[in-house]
């Protein structure tokens, strides 16, 4: 079984969270890595190409960043955020991009089932949580999104660069005021991120047939995170569109 690195950084700053994900993407020698994290303060992240003006409630979050992945805005509060980083030719990411989403989302569904959640891919049906004009990721669904209770409950996106892939996503544990009526685990025991993370880890290990070793980011990854992190909150980047 392949050995992956597991990095857990709860209650980290938005700058560190985005900077470390960039470091994991851009450090070719980084081993395949699974990362779990949460945010302090609560943060709204814009998609890479999103217009700031298209997210009317962006300023209501504790902080704002722009991600290097695409898609809509996410309010990172009461959620578990994860990222996966590995070479793009890794079996998890080989083939069509859609197929890699399906593999990762089915793994998350296994973890959700442990809490009694029957999650499946949205497919061609419409969701109650689909809404126009908010700019929020959870209000815009695609066939590969994971849904339960007829609402979208996991938002995820990829960045592919120089032969590597960064895949990050959010699993909603409770409702947030900026996202409203979406699928969460509120009705399923409302686990804290610290309770959901080990269950999700077991699902990744069993479904992907991997082992993991807990680790801290390497010094060079921390340095990259520190150098590039501030840029994610800079007005110039935040309002580039």
């Amino acid at each position: 079984m392949e050995l992956w690195r597991l990095i857990t950084t709860f209650e980290a700053s938005p700058e560190f969270n985005m900077g470390l994900d960039q470091a994991l993407l851009e450090t070719p020698e980084s081993p395949p890595t699974l990362r779990f994290y949460t945010w302090s303060p609560d943060t709204l992240s814009l998609g890479y190409f999103q217009r700031f003006a298209d997210v009317p409630r962006a300023a209501e979050a504790g902080a704002q960043v722009r991600r290097i992945t695409g898609g809509g805005a996410i309010h990172h509060v009461d959620e578990l955020t994860f990222s996966l980083a590995c070479p793009v030719d890794h079996p998890l990411y080989q083939g069509p991009i859609g197929a890699s989403y399906e593999r990762v989302h089915r793994t998350i569904a296994v973890a959700l089932a442990r809490f009694g959640v029957k999650a499946d891919l949205r497919g061609e049906r419409a969701l109650v949580s689909d809404r126009a004009d908010t700019g929020m990721c959870f209000h815009h669904s695609t066939p590969l999104d994971l849904a339960w209770d007829e609402r979208k409950g996991v938002g995820s996106a990829q960045r592919r660069k120089d032969g590597r892939v960064l895949h990050h996503g959010s699993i909603k544990l409770r409702n947030s005021p900026l996202e409203g009526d979406i699928a969460t685990l509120e009705r399923y025991g409302a686990p804290a991120p610290e309770e959901f993370a080990p269950v999700l880890l077991e699902a990744f290990k069993s479904e992907l047939a991997i082992r993991t070793r807990p680790a801290a980011p390497e010094i060079d990854e921390r340095e990259i995170a520190t150098v590039v992190g501030a840029g994610y909150r800079a007005e110039k980047f935040l309002r580039r569109r």
Partner: protein, 139 residues
């Protein structure tokens, strides 16, 4: 003897799935059908944004000249050839479906003035070599 290819053999191909074709004294650059399919999952409405560079920008071979977003991934666009950007295909930024319809002609992305007239020999593949490269990636 050359092997038969399904992709145009009037241009060269790059490892990150861009193509480059001589156009007078300049070179036009785009992305291959393989790249379009991988990004869009076969659904042209899945391509949502594309950023292309300002004319005047100098590019090294392999340097990122733009970015493209499909519904599920943002990917870099890399230049197969070193040179100066002299024009971009602005229609692409507004009509990404062109890439699905015709990645080889109407879907060109940038025109560059190559640094070297002998650009075609440097780390680039013929259509037949590119197809072997794609085949090898499946394994």
């Amino acid at each position: 003897m050359t092997s038969k290819t399904t992709r145009p053999d009037d241009r060269k191909y790059f490892e990150s799935h861009e193509w480059a074709k001589q156009d007078g004294e300049n070179v036009i650059i785009g992305i291959t059908d393989f790249a379009v399919t991988a990004l869009s999952n076969g659904n042209d409405s899945d391509l949502v944004y594309c950023d292309l560079p300002e004319p005047g920008r100098e590019l090294a071979q392999g340097e990122t000249f733009g970015e493209i977003e499909s519904v599920k991934a943002v990917s870099d666009l890399n230049s197969p050839v070193a040179g100066e950007v002299i024009a971009i295909n602005q229609k692409i930024e507004e009509h990404l479906e062109i890439l699905s319809r015709d990645p080889w002609n109407e879907g060109w992305m940038i025109r560059i003035r190559p640094t070297s007239k002998n650009w075609a020999g440097e780390k680039l593949m013929s259509a037949a070599e590119y197809e072997k490269y794609l085949e090898a990636q499946k394994h």
